[in-house]
Symmetry: C2
Subunit: 349 residues, 2 copies
């Protein structure tokens, strides 16, 4: 067993961990280990919104263009394509790209073809809106958790390797304890989101970030499940998860959640696969903690998973993972082009 915090980032704690040094978790879990030479990764959410059927082809063309752009020099180490319908009734496709080193991302982003596409005036008209939400956290400012070593998704897929079983999980507060920055920092939100233009169709709007904005991506992979486990997941667990995601959509702002997307991975033909995740932006890690720990909707989700674990005698084929970033302002970039005013972080500002 080892600490979730990479060796080179451990330091004397001025803020004690919630679990004591001799704590032993009740079951194993693992984290992704990014290569030592990287100091900062990049997680880019490229979104296109449209109303089907009119905008669908344009959205597909947009995704195809992005895939081309994401090839070539300084390409990301991993990409996912996922879909959801937002509260305004728009379909959204997100192409999510991970770089294990922000310097490669920056070179990619500065490539003439990338830059030209995002800055082209055509982006501000037509049947689709586009957006990019890019977090580039230093290694101290994000953490991962994966249920089994083969459960790599998201940023874990650009990690060099998976850890040994780690200590800081299986209790409330583990998320914070796994964050290297939490050793010395309360990670309080400071400042407010603000916009540089009025959000409307035809507008290009950047969202100025605030300190310690928090992003969680939390996913499930049921491709390997069978029989009873599959029935329990699809029949009992997933409906409760969906309900909790719906609560965050409808009521998130009142508890510090700017936006929540319950997304399904899709293939190139937009056919759903057996992978899903929720991603949500929060004003602060603490507000995410409070929802997770005490809100009936998440207690129900957690209870459902725990009940499933018991019924399956701790032998699950369901794979679970999450990644949480608490981002400094210089690690955030949000831009919305020709999007409706409730898109993503526009709603939070």
């Amino acid at each position: 067993m080892e600490s979730a915090i990479p060796t080179q980032l451990r330091c004397p704690r001025t803020r004690p961990a919630r679990a004591s040094e001799d704590y032993v978790p009740p079951y194993p879990a693992f984290v992704a280990r990014i290569k030592d030479s990287a100091t900062q990764v990049a997680m880019a959410y490229f979104g296109v919104q449209y109303r089907a059927p009119g905008g669908k082809q344009a959205a597909l063309d947009c995704i195809a263009t992005w895939k081309t752009l994401l090839g070539g020099s300084d390409a990301p180490g991993h990409q996912d394509l996922a879909h959801y319908v937002d509260d305004a009734g728009f379909d959204n496709l997100l192409l999510i790209a991970y770089w294990d080193d922000v310097t490669a991302y920056r070179r990619w982003d500065a490539r003439p073809d990338t830059s030209a596409w995002w800055n082209h005036p055509d982006r501000l008209k037509g049947d689709i809106g586009c957006y990019r939400e890019v977090l580039s956290p230093r290694l101290a400012n994000f953490e991962t958790l994966i249920s089994t070593p083969d459960s790599r998704h998201g940023v874990a897929l650009v990690a060099e390797k998976v850890s040994e079983p780690i200590q800081e999980h299986g209790y409330w507060g583990g998320m914070r304890d796994r964050l290297p920055s939490s050793q010395t920092d309360a990670l309080r939100a400071e400042g407010k989101l603000s916009l540089d233009a009025k959000p409307a169709p035809g507008a290009r709007v950047r969202v100025a970030p605030h300190e310690n904005l928090t992003l969680i991506r939390s996913g499930q992979d049921w491709t390997q499940t069978q029989g009873n486990e599959r029935d329990i997941y699809l029949g009992e667990v997933e409906p409760v998860l969906r309900e909790g995601m719906g609560f965050l959509n409808a009521n998130g702002p009142s508890i510090g959640c700017y936006v929540n997307r319950y997304m399904r991975h899709v293939d190139d033909k937009l056919q759903p696969t057996e992978l899903s995740f929720g991603m949500s932006y929060w004003r602060s890690l603490e507000q995410l903690e409070r929802w997770a720990e005490s809100h009936p909707t998440h207690v129900a989700i957690f209870g459902g998973f725990m009940s499933m674990v018991q019924k399956m005698n701790f032998d699950l084929k369901l794979r679970l993972y999450h990644e949480v970033t608490v981002a400094k302002t210089d690690e955030q970039f949000f831009e919305y082009l020709n999007c409706h005013p409730a898109t993503g972080l526009l709603r939070g500002a």
Copy 2:
């Protein structure tokens, strides 16, 4: 809103609270305020064990004697009588007495009649076994939580008053944050329980305590519930609570729980009333926290209560309370007379 920690016990934290200073709980809760002039209270659990029907009359006589002893000078401010059947199949009656000032308890305990009864050789023979478990925490070393100002039970009934709504609740870690001692102390368990004699019928055994042994008493009062709320409590919540209590009885030692008693308040004729509580001794506060936060049995209990709160639209007639003591060795006294070897803390040693 105010802090759960009494004004005179607040100090600069060397160990940060789990919730930040601007945290606002999602619903109100309250704590008991002991009178300022007291520095230490006393909570005495006087137990008699017997096998019905043979020992029942002797046990009732014992309770009657204790009630007489608990009258007169330096009487406790409150007493409860409660019953449960232990894992060895013995009935146990506990008369639980609270003093708001340990000096009064000490004078009472030193009274010739009290002292003579507990030290009489007859206590080591006959059909009953007797025990006393006395915690006398300084005000810094225990905390309370009550769901409504009229929900006073246990130590809250000897408190001078009830607080305003307090800040430190509604999240995991609130229990620790409410303990004044947690401001500067990790409250780790140190040492081991040990016995001064072999536990057996006919023996008088004292249990030498260890630092930071933890006692929780957590209760529910459904006397005021009606209709749907009553049906939900008795039909859905209580069975899950009972199952969780059963788990602790059967498996507690593997997770740091020395003993658990799921008790029902009874009247003088041993008829059950609509009040119950669980009381359990733990090796450490942390182990209690871990069970509460992550064990499926307690997650189910918590989920059941939360679901009930939602169904009743946050308007409950069910009353809830708890009290938690993390005791220094000089605040603990445990003695077992003519008891079976798995009684109370004898099992933990």
